[in-house]
Each structure stands twice: as structure tokens, then as C-alpha cells.
Amino acid sequence: MSIGPVRTSVMRAPVMRTAFWPILHAEWTKFRTVRGWVVGMVLAALVTAGIALLNHSSCGGTVVPGGKVIAGVGCTAPIGPGGEAVTDSFYFVHQPMTADGSITARLTALTSPAGQDGVGLQPWAKGGLIIKASTRPGSAYAAVMLTGGHGVRMQYDFTADIDGNVAAGARVVPHWLRLTRAGDAITGYESANGTQWTKIGTAVLAGLPRTVQAGMFATSPPGSVQVGSQSIAGSSAGAGMALATARFTDVSLRSGPLAGPVAIGTVATSTVATSTGAAGRWSGTAVGGLTTGEGFRQAGGAVSVTGTGDIAPDVPASPGAAGGTPAEQTLEGTFGGLIAVIIVAVMFMTAEYRRNLLRVTFSAAPRRGAVLAAKALVIGTVTFVAGLAGAATAIPAGEALLRSNGNFILPIGLLTQVRLVAGTAALLAVTAVLGVALGAVLRLGAAAITAIVMTMVLPYFFAGQLALLPASAADWLLRVTPAAAFAVQQTIPQYPQVAASYTAANGYFPLAPWAGFAVLCGYAAAALVLAVVLVRRRDA
């Protein structure tokens, strides 16, 4: 009432249009001189870091057929050429291939062996041709294959997956497959009749050795058996092991460069003869360890290969996961730190109302929008620094503890690590800005804090831990609420070529990391604009 007219008539004088810097300095002074707020921020960093030290997961074990649990087995995974943890387990019938060359075969069947109770042919069961740097798990490869339910595909180096030309579900066998190598480039082809060939894709496997292993393979991921609805670190979901058998005829392996270019769609190369010459030299390797039921048989010109496992990235939420721990599990303390940040940020604003300081503030700095901006900047920056300190401590400390308990941390790239630390700090900082803005809008500290906690912590709790909502509703919550921002902490991406339960409960968010973070930023920006409008209109 008293401020309004004065502000417009007198205080608008040029002298009073103070620069932003003094306002910012004033807000910084306010923050640093209230001991409780500084203590609160330090506490936020400590809680963010300290909770990581409560994680006493130890790597559980793997379930083998028959339901027995072997403790401590499989708590590691091979590392693929891209640096990620991978599953590399299949039956490989192979011969060395030196320099350029090609392998061609007619796939006559992909089935699940008889007597495999309860678990049929898995959608991602695979059988086909593969060229691999060596038989060491995790080495570079390129493969063309028929899958149980996803048609013909070309995959390479674990993460790349190219859809072939056969529609999923179409009846395709017998089907011709071919891989050709020219230097580091491996090209996959398919054909319905062995004469008309279609290119699927080309993989460039940098640093492929001169002599590689080429041949046939079969593998099948386990059928998913959901055990409970919560994923507890270290325990892999129960899985029913599944086998797949691929049958081939007319296998031909040709070393040396192809005679002339392969003209797509028309030209055929020899599809007979060489298989008999090569037949004696095939050897079988159970890559990733032999499991009962794996092996190969050769009768006349036909080869049948039976294998289990998968050639794919290691996905923690998949039934075949190796039991590795994603790095973000060390950051669960963010929720504790978040509460401290919200309290301090909201009080940073509402204390002005509560102590009637705001009238003084606004008479000293009549540009009310600038005051709010300065408050947001101060609290955002302070929180970012505290969050950075907390997250940068939590991750190495938490990982060291997890490793000392025999856990295996899923490796992530440098950029992902930076995103994990900076994203966590930014999440806390933007939440603090939201706190200041909502504090100004609602003026009641308790209401503002409850609103933020209920929209940030509760959706995560509902979606991630409380098994009351169906997955679709949980995903919806994590799209539209500010809690979407926790996606910034997801380090292991979803892979369409791995069947897994990609749910919030397993650490998978419906939005991409930065998209989720943008949702929170949107809320904070909207609240800040509303706050500026209201504070300008209202009496202080």
C-alpha cells in the first residue's frame, strides 16, 4: 500500500535505477550472514555425499537352471569396443579368415530346442553369421542374423542394430545371409533365394586384426521371470535360461577379395562347392563359457548350432544382466540434499516476508524483478557449488565402497560422468530457483516447501519405489512433474535390441536426460515469471 505509489512517482528517478550488481551483492550478503542457511547448504552437500556410504550392496549371484543361486558368480562383465559393459555369450562355429573375404550361408531354421520347459523361442534369440576379431568376449564383431521375433538384422560392436528388409514376424526361413570384409569395413547382405542380394548395412570396425574368426553362431537371452517388483542393487532378476538352435546349409567361406564388385540386387557369387572344402576345419567355441546344451553338429552339408546368452550391451534391468551397478546408485543422497536445498531456498525468500524485511529490500532496490533475479542467481549458484561438491564426492566414495564389497560398477563414458555430476548439481540449483520463486508466489514457507517436495520427491517415490502404480502411470508422472529431472542421473541407456523391463523402478526414465531436466527448468522459469509479476503487483 505504502510502497506502490512511492515507487512509481519518486523512486523511478534515474539515480534510484541501481545497477544489478549492488542488488546481487546485497542478496549474497544476506545469504552468507544467516548462519542457518550456510549450515543448510553445507548439510545439503554432506547429505548428498554421505548417503552413498550407506550402500552396503554386495554382488548377489546368478540364478542357474533349476533355481539354484551361485553366489558371487557373474559379478563382472566383459567390456565392449565402445567401453560399455556387454554380454558376449554364444556358441560360435568358426574358422580363421585372413584379410578380405566373405562368408555366406543358407539359414534353414531358428528354433528353441525340444525339452526346454516353459521358455519358448525368445524374441531376441539370434542365429546367423558373424565375423569377430577373436573369440575373446567383448572383442569387436559384425553379424547378420535372424531373430526369434524381430526379423533379419545386422548388429555390430554390441550397441549397433540395423533392421533388415524382412518384416518382423514374416515367415522367412530358409533365408540367405552373407558378410563380406573389405579392410575394416564389414557389409551384411540378405537374400531370399541366394541370387538376389540386398545390403543391410556396413560396419566399420576400426583396428580389426588381419586374421579374424568367421562363422555361424546361435544364442538366446533368458526368458524373463520377474521376481518381485523392486530391483535391489546387486541382485539380478530371476531368469529362465533359454537356448536357440540355428541350422545352416550351403555354407561357403571365401578368403581373398571378392571377384568383382557385388552388385546389389542382381549378382550372385558362388553359393555351392566351397562348403565341402571348408567343412572339416570348423571348430566350435562357447564364447563366454560353456553352458549345458550348447554345441554344434555337422552332418553332410548341414550345420546346426545351439547356444545361449546374448551378444548385446549389458542392461541392468534385463533378465540376463551380469549384476553390475549403475554409477547413479551412489547419488541416492541427492534426495536428502534436495530437502535441505528446498528449505534454504524457500526461506531465503519467505524470511523476507516473515521478518518484514522485504519492505526494506524493496525501498533500497525498487526494481523488484531485479531483486528476485538476484536472489535466484545467488541461491542457484551457491546450490550448484554445493551440489557439485556433494556429487563429486559421492560418486568416487560410493563406487569405492561398492567395489570393496565385490560389486561391479557399469563403466560409463567421460561425458556421461560429467553429465552425472554437473546434472545433479544443476538439478539441485534449478530446484533452489524454483524454491525462491514459489516462496515469492505463495509467501508461506511451509506451503512452498510442501508443493516442491510433493512434485519432486513424491513422483519419484511413487514411480520408482512404490509398486502401487502401473508402469504407464509411473512413466506419465515422470514426464509431467518436475521429478522428470532425475532422468539426468540415468547413465545406462535403453537399448531396443535388449528385452528388459525399462521402468522407473529399474532406473529408466521415460524422458531423455536433458529433456527431463528441461521439464524442471520449465517449471522453475514459469514460477519465476509468475513471482516477478505477482511481486510487482502486490504490496510487499
Binding site: G36, I51, L54, N55, H56, S57, S58, S229, Q230, I232, A233, G234, Q329, E332, G333, F335, G336, I339, A340, I342, I343, V346, M347, T350, R354, N405, L444, G445, A446, A447, A448, I449, T450, V453, M454, V457, L458, Y460, F461, F462, G464, Q465, L466, A467, L468, L469, P470, S472, A473
Partner: protein, 299 residues
Amino acid sequence: MRSGPGNSARLSPAHIGPAHIGPAHIGPAHIGPAHIGPARVGAGVLHAEWTKLRTVPSTAWLLVGIVGLTAVAGALADAAAKCPASGCGLDPARVSLTGTYLGQAVVAILAVVAISDEYGTGMIRTTLAAVPRRGAMLAAKAANVSAVVLLAGAAAVLASWLAGWLILPGHGFTAAAGYASLSLTDGPMLRAVAGTVLYLALVGLLSLGIATAVREPAAAIGSVLGLLYVVPIIAAVVGSPSWHRHLEQFAPMTAGLAIQDTTGLAAAPISPWAGLGVLAGWAAAGLLAGSVALTRRDA
């Protein structure tokens, strides 16, 4: 004297100087045992606290919020829940009472505001001048907060139950699928519904205790919500299953909400009434901390 606190609720802080409180009307001399018996003091304090709670405009809104948020969230959860014939492992009582997770936050606001508003306005000095027995003042506040939360909680929980009773059987929660009826004549369901009302009241008391100890409303509500929501989130990552179980038995929300279990009781970390007992222990500890801080400290 009885109308004292009620009247001064309308005074602004500036008017409450020592001179006002001191001599004639509201002196300790008035309350001395010679004049008024302990029972009348109790009734007076209770009435004064009731007047304050009743006349603060936010109270009505918060009560509406408790009922509305609980019932609407519960109905939404009912609508989202689908239980195929193969079973879904969901407890129909838990699903229909999902709104408790939200409603309790509003209960916490109500309880926190009941005490910390007095600190914010300076009213607390008037209140304590009128009622020098600080423990009695806190007890009266606790009684009033409990009473209104029990009433609003009963409305909220009954509305949630009704929504569940209407919606859930159509979503596969039928006797044929092995679920007990959602009827209130069913023992476990009645316990879940009645127990949830008590749960909300206990959350109110816990919040009142913490807010009395902390005084600052923002810090108080933050601590309450952190205790309720964040402890279970952290419990999920301790890894060791036995630790996890112990934390679930100990955390006020997970333990207290065990009162809503009607299925899978054998596997639950804590039995329904024991769980509510744990929350009651938290509420008692909170109130004790609040009253100790209140009596030891300058207002």
C-alpha cells in the same frame, strides 16, 4: 482471561508489548490455583487453542486440502490400477488409500502452521503469558490438531475407500481373483481404513512436535517431509536386504502405513499394529522433544 488469547489473535505483533501483557489482566496471578481449578485451566487452554485454530483462515483450506487431495489421488490410483486374472500382487486397500501419501503432507502443514505461525507473529509470547504452563499449551494444541485431523482424515479415508469400493472390483480386484471384498465389514479392510485415520493424526502430532522444537515453519515442514518420504527412498539403496528391512520397520511412513496391509501380511517387514505403534513412538518422541525445547527455551 479465557477470551484473552482469542482477542489478541487479532492484534498485530507491534501491539504486543510487555506492557500489555504484564500487569492487570493476564498476569500469572490470575491463573493461580487459588482462583481456578486445574480442570478449568485445562478447558480454558483447550478452548483458547481451538479458537486460534478455528479462526486462522488457512485451517479450513488445509482441511479441504486433506480430504480433496487424499480422495482424488486415491481415485486416480484406483482408475490406473489393473489387475489381470493372473494376479498383480497389488493390495486393494493400499491402492484405494494411495492418497494418504499426499494427504499426510497437508496434515503436516496444518500441524506445523498451528505452532510456528505463533512464533512468526510473536503471538507465542502472548499465549505463554496467558498459559504459563507450557506443556499444557502444547497438549491443548495437540488435542485440537488431533481432533481436526481425525475428522478430516475420516472424511478423506472414507471417500477414498468409497472410490476403491466402486472402482476396484471392475478392475480385476474380485473375489474370483482371490481378493477379499473391499467391504468395511471385512476385518482387515476396516483395520486399514480406521488405522489410516489414526495414521494421519499421528503424522499431525509428529509434525507438531517437530515444529515446536524447530520453530521455523520452513525447516519444520522440510524435516517432517524428509523424514516421511526420503528415508524410504534411501532405505531402498542400502543394498543389504536385512538393513532394508530394518529401515522399513523403523521409518515412520513405511512402518505406519503397514496398517493398510490386507494382503501379503506374512512377508511384510512389520505387522500392521506394530507398525502404527512405531509411528506413535515417533509422534511421542517428537512431542517430547517439542515440549522439552518449549519449556527450556525463551519463547
